[in-house]
């Protein structure tokens, strides 16, 4: 470990940046859940695109080219609302992961179990062991810095996310072309309109945050060869890949598998087995499970590395105790990675060994939603504010339409995320005590969002890295 400042190697180009976003957002485990909606999943996806995917892509492109500094959302929000705002935004992006990590780890372990022997998924020790190997293994990859993790991400996202998505889409097309029975009604425009009422409103937050992670490339600005040129293009490329794969693969599943078979959202592998059995290629289920396991690992890696890098930069700026700002010779924030892995391991332990506590899980997932909404509310607000407070800062990519364009983009994003925050507080109707539910979610969100304010309260010049190197702060 080293305390000396590390010179970041510029290793990321357009493709690598785009793949970072695709790795963070594109997840095959979403498809069966969304396929339950049949044709109306198109409407839900359009809502998600209008109130979140397009706004965050445009906002990210403008902010990343205007302030191509390390730290991603931290750098952007700091410009608009100061250190405190930036730190809170980044910390919420980081802390929501610690609640979410067990979910994606469990997905990876259960998918791997499906490839080996499905019964293994019932063994909590198998699950926990695989989860820990994946978690610490991914942390180890992050330890070796940007170059290694980029190679892993590029290969992993293609093999683990894009190839399986294209395979599902291809099978869907074959299904249609070979005249097989379509299990959803024939397409009409009216069927694409989603039903929005009190029952489905909580799903609004889910659909908005389905595309969370489009800002992930921003954390890698210091390692990007030409951020001003590549960020907007990477945003566009990744958005196109994500939308095409997500919408078409969901529809492919919806037309082949009856909703009753998907009703439990019983798992992507169960859906794929049904799909592949119907197509007569059951032998592909095992290899597909391995690819999807890899996709889960890459999805985890994107969220594990990006915000941790951001937190490393915050620590280097002297906003956290020196224990957080240790970097190694590869430039990886080892202390943050280690602390993250330790906390994540404890939360995973609880997740595996207390599985039937479903109310608790619902509250934890609501906390994830609330924390993410705080991040994006601050990003969209920063986008608008910076057009007023720093209008002359060169922005190689500017949202078209002047101030009106920015207000439309920022306004749509704010609308989507504020509404998601509100509906994120709605408990399932079977919760008898709404006050306890809302109180628990808000208290948990507060506990996971407030540490930056504690750190800044105790901040002192000795925490600045330069000071330790003998330079003036």
């Amino acid at each position: 470990m080293s305390d000396a400042p590390v010179v970041n190697k510029k290793v990321l180009g357009l493709f690598a940046l785009a793949m970072i976003n695709v790795a963070a957002v594109l997840s095959i485990r979403n498809f069966p859940s969304m396929a339950v909606y049949g044709w109306s999943c198109i409407g839900w996806y359009i809502i998600g695109a209008i109130v979140f995917l397009i706004p965050i892509s445009l906002a990210g492109a403008e902010l990343a080219t205007g302030w191509p500094e390390g730290g991603g959302v931290y750098a952007w929000v700091k410009q608009a609302f100061g250190e405190k705002g930036g730190f809170v935004a980044l910390f919420c992006e980081w802390s929501n992961n610690l609640v979410w990590f067990p979910t994606v780890l469990s997905f990876t372990a259960s998918t791997l179990a499906f490839a080996l022997t499905p019964d293994l998924a019932a063994n909590p020790w198998f699950m926990f062991s695989v989860m820990m190997i994946v978690f610490w293994g991914t942390t180890a990859i992050a330890y070796f810095g940007e170059e290694t993790s980029t190679k892993f991400s590029n290969i992993g996202v293609i093999l683990g996310s894009i190839v399986p998505s294209l395979l599902i889409i291809g099978l869907g097309l074959w299904w249609l072309g070979s005249g097989q029975k379509i299990v959803i009604p024939h397409f009409t425009l009216a069927q694409t309109v989603p039903t929005i009422n009190l029952s489905t409103l909580p799903f609004f937050a889910t659909i908005v945050l389905l595309f969370a992670g489009m800002e992930m490339a921003g954390f890698h600005a210091l390692e990007t060869k030409n951020p001003q040129r590549d960020f907007p293009r990477a945003m566009a490329l990744s958005a196109v890949i994500i939308v095409i794969c997500t919408v078409l693969a969901t529809l492919a599943i919806a037309i082949v598998i009856p909703a009753s078979q998907l009703n439990l959202a019983s798992g992507v592998m169960q859906a794929i087995q049904y799909f592949f059995d119907a197509a007569g290629i059951a032998w592909l289920v095992g290899p597909m499970a391995l690819l999807i396991t890899l996709g889960g690992v890459v999805n985890l890696a994107a969220w594990l590395i990006g915000p941790a890098k951001g937190l490393g930069i915050v620590a280097e700026e002297g906003n956290m105790p020196p224990i957080f700002d240790r970097t190694n010779k590869y430039g990886a924030p080892v202390a943050v990675l280690l602390i993250q892995a330790l906390i994540g391991s404890v939360v995973s332990l609880l997740y595996v060994f207390l599985p039937s506590v479903n109310q608790a899980y619902w509250i934890l997932s609501a906390m994830t939603v609330e924390l993410l909404c705080i991040v994006y509310i601050l990003v969209f607000a920063a986008l608008i504010k910076l057009r007023y407070s720093k209008p002359d800062t060169p922005r190689p990519f500017k949202i078209p339409g002047g101030m009106i364009g920015v207000w439309i983009v920022g306004g749509l994003g704010l609308f989507g995320t504020v509404l998601s925050f509100i509906v994120g507080l709605m408990p399932p109707m079977y919760f008898t005590n709404w006050a306890v539910y809302v109180g628990s979610v808000l208290l948990g969100t507060f506990l996971l969002a407030v540490p930056p304010l504690i750190f800044l309260k105790f901040k002192h010049p000795g925490w600045l890295k330069k000071q330790k190197s003998g330079e003036q702060p």
Binding site: V99, A122, P124, M127, P428
Partner: protein, 150 residues
């Protein structure tokens, strides 16, 4: 305000505890559902007790280790709401809890699930849509049934 080295370590520990605390508290507040056999058809009985009509019933076997079969009900209430409630029995606490983990691992993105699930005895009971008022009416009776053992 400045901190000593030990103070900084304490600060880091406090922050770490702040992360684990919500998860731990929730784990302690909400008790894990014990595995035991509930007799009869709890969803049908709960629907009858709540004045909810069963429109359709189909037998289902989920493709999961330890699943032993169940039913999918299409339910409607006097207000015209419709809900789909699936119930599946499992042969052990381990297989039932593995199914819960699998379910939890499949929330779309970083959001919430499409439906709601509760655990009652040997059963997992899953309802869509997520905020169904019908399911809200069923749950008290299902929880009561969960206390009944053979």
């Amino acid at each position: 305000m400045t901190l000593s080295k030990n103070g900084e370590i304490c600060l880091v520990l406090i922050v770490a505890v702040m992360f684990i605390l919500p998860c731990l508290m929730l784990g302690l507040i909400y008790e894990s559902e014990p595995y035991h056999v509930i007799p009869g058809e709890p969803v049908k009985a709960a629907a009858d007790a709540a004045g909810i009509s069963v429109v359709d019933v189909k037998g289902t076997l989920w493709n999961m280790a330890g699943a032993t079969g169940g039913k999918t009900y299409t339910l409607t209430d006097p207000e015209g709401d419709i809900a789909y409630v699936a119930i599946q029995a499992f042969n052990s606490a381990e297989s039932r809890d593995a199914a819960v983990r699998l379910y939890n691992a499949h929330a779309p993105g970083k959001g919430k699930h499409v439906g709601n699930m509760i655990v009652a005895g040997q059963y997992l009971i899953y309802a869509t849509p997520a905020n169904s008022p019908i399911f809200a009416k069923l749950v008290p009776a299902l929880q009561q049934a969960a206390k009944t053992t053979t």
